[in-house]
Amino acid sequence: MLTKMTAVEAKLFLRDPAAPVTVVGIPLALLLVFGLMPGSSKPSAAFGGHAPLPTLIAPMAVAILIAMLAVMMFPAAVATYREKGVLKRLSASPVPPGRLLAAQLLVNLAAAAVAILLVLGVGRIALGMALPENLGGFLLVMVLGALALFSVGTLIAALAPTNRAASGIGAAAFFPMLALGGVWVPKEQLPPVLQHVADVLPLGATINGLREAAAGNSPELLQLGSLVAFAVVCSAIAARAFRWE
């Protein structure tokens, strides 16, 4: 039943051309614009002796991609279903509406995986970008980051009554996380207090954890811990709060 529903949701996702284009387009553009700047693949003192493309831009592209899907597109899709009565209709059938939430989640996670492979593949092949030095750490942060951000998204999806509300809450979560996470201003240039905030909020924790791993270090415990905490707390609240109404 979940398989069938996931297959249908996947078809619907692909039928909305705006979704896949945004998902792949924004991070890819980010990577290409920076990647084509001269010197982006060379170690630079301004970036702590690392090359900015693999250790800053690629982590940003990956994290932003996950966050866009997780807190903007996924909750908006679920809230639209609530607004239209799709969830209510499902509640009156033998299949609980939570199944549709799960199917949407799977589709968006799959979309994130494909988009990440595509973005990193293009970086590697077209720009000759270096692979993350700590590949295991990079994968770990990516998975935990996806779990944390999608849990935030599930919480929004559980609570937002309409598409408009979900988009509003999603943007209200996404942009501050972007600003405080070290995207507009790299973490090192933030005041010390905000540096901790950058390692705690899920988007920042993902970006900065990915940066550590890309540069060959271990992700910081604060980053990993906060990702796990967000994943557990948000999904627990979401599971209790989710209704068809």
């Binding site: 039943m1 069938k4 619907l12 239209k84 009565g85 799709v86 209709r89 009156a92 059938s93 033998p94």
Partner: protein
């Protein structure tokens, strides 16, 4: 043995009483109407039957099941068409039916359902490209796709044009003829009168009457009003003295005779004996609208 029994159902939202005290029983194989103005508590009542809402008081039994406790079993056997529930815009008709049929133990033949509902040519059409009538028919198809014993249809012709409305009525009769018990929520008098075997009239959260459409009309009396323009002067005193005639009034050149059910025969034979022709003859009988006004003290709509 009724297939659905509701006793003293009570439901509030905050401090607003949606359903005050509603009781009725639905027999197998009938089309049972729930008729009332908007906000009377009709939808809340059926949403409690469907297990979508938890009642604050009263007992419910559908097919011998408790709609909340046994909701898993009930949903296999109860088909539902909800008011104002849509499907994803890009979902196609065939996909929707196929998806929903995968939810049920005994799915109906989707091909036959598409034919029955006149959607065979729309199989690959996206939901948002369907007309209002087609969307409504698809939602009826989804209500039937699990081969239910009871189908609850809520305001299914609201927003449809008159032709689509009549087509949908034919369809509901076809569904009943397949042996499905139908619970029909409506605020259209004509729809209730045309389709329902029995009707519960609900007003401000209470049942004010339950009867056949004809029975409801009979409750408000069987008077008829006969209007005509006589071709020659008529003796009003003689006319008023006829059996069955209760009252005679003159409005300009028109006579208005109020009488009992058989007054028309009496009046026309009286006129024939006196060689008077009745021009512009009109007979008004009490109908469900009058019954509704008498029962609730106001008009529908």
């Amino acid at each position: 043995m009724p297939v659905t029994e509701v006793q003293h159902l009570h439901k509030t939202y905050g401090d607003k009483v949606a359903v005050d005290d509603v009781s009725f029983a639905v027999e197998r194989g009938e089309i049972f109407g729930i008729l009332g103005p908007n906000g009377a508590g009709k939808t809340t009542t059926v949403e409690c039957l469907e297990g979508l809402r938890t009642p604050d008081g009263g007992t419910l039994s559908v097919l011998g099941l408790d709609p909340r406790r046994d909701r898993h079993e009930l949903r296999q056997r109860l088909g539902v068409q909800l008011q104002e529930s849509r499907l994803p815009d890009r979902l196609r008709v065939g996909e929707a039916l196929e998806l929903y049929s995968s939810f049920y133990r005994k799915p109906a033949d989707t091909e036959r359902l598409l034919d029955l509902l006149g959607l065979a040519h729309q199989r690959d059409t996206a939901y948002k490209k369907l007309s209002g009538g087609q969307q409504q028919r698809l939602s009826i198809a989804l209500a039937l796709v699990g081969s239910p014993e009871i189908a609850v249809l809520d305001e299914l012709t609201t927003g449809l044009d008159p032709q689509a409305r009549r087509d949908t009525w034919d369809l509901v009769e076809a569904v009943r003829d397949e042996g499905v018990t139908v619970v029909l929520v409506t605020h259209f008098m004509e729809e209730a009168e045309r389709l329902c075997d029995r009707i519960a009239v609900i007003d401000t959260g209470r049942v004010v009457a339950i009867d056949t459409p004809a029975g409801l009309v009979r409750q408000v009396g069987d008077e008829q009003r006969i209007r005509f323009r006589p071709s020659a002067p008529v003796d009003l005193a003689q006319l008023a003295a006829l059996p069955d005639v209760l009252e005679v009034e003159r409005h300009g050149s028109q006579l208005v005779v109020t009488g009992r059910a058989t007054a028309l025969q009496t009046v026309t034979s009286f006129l024939a004996r006196n060689q008077v022709l009745a021009g512009d003859l009109r007979v008004d009988q009490a109908n469900l609208d009058d019954a509704f006004v008498a029962l609730t003290g106001r008009k529908l709509d």
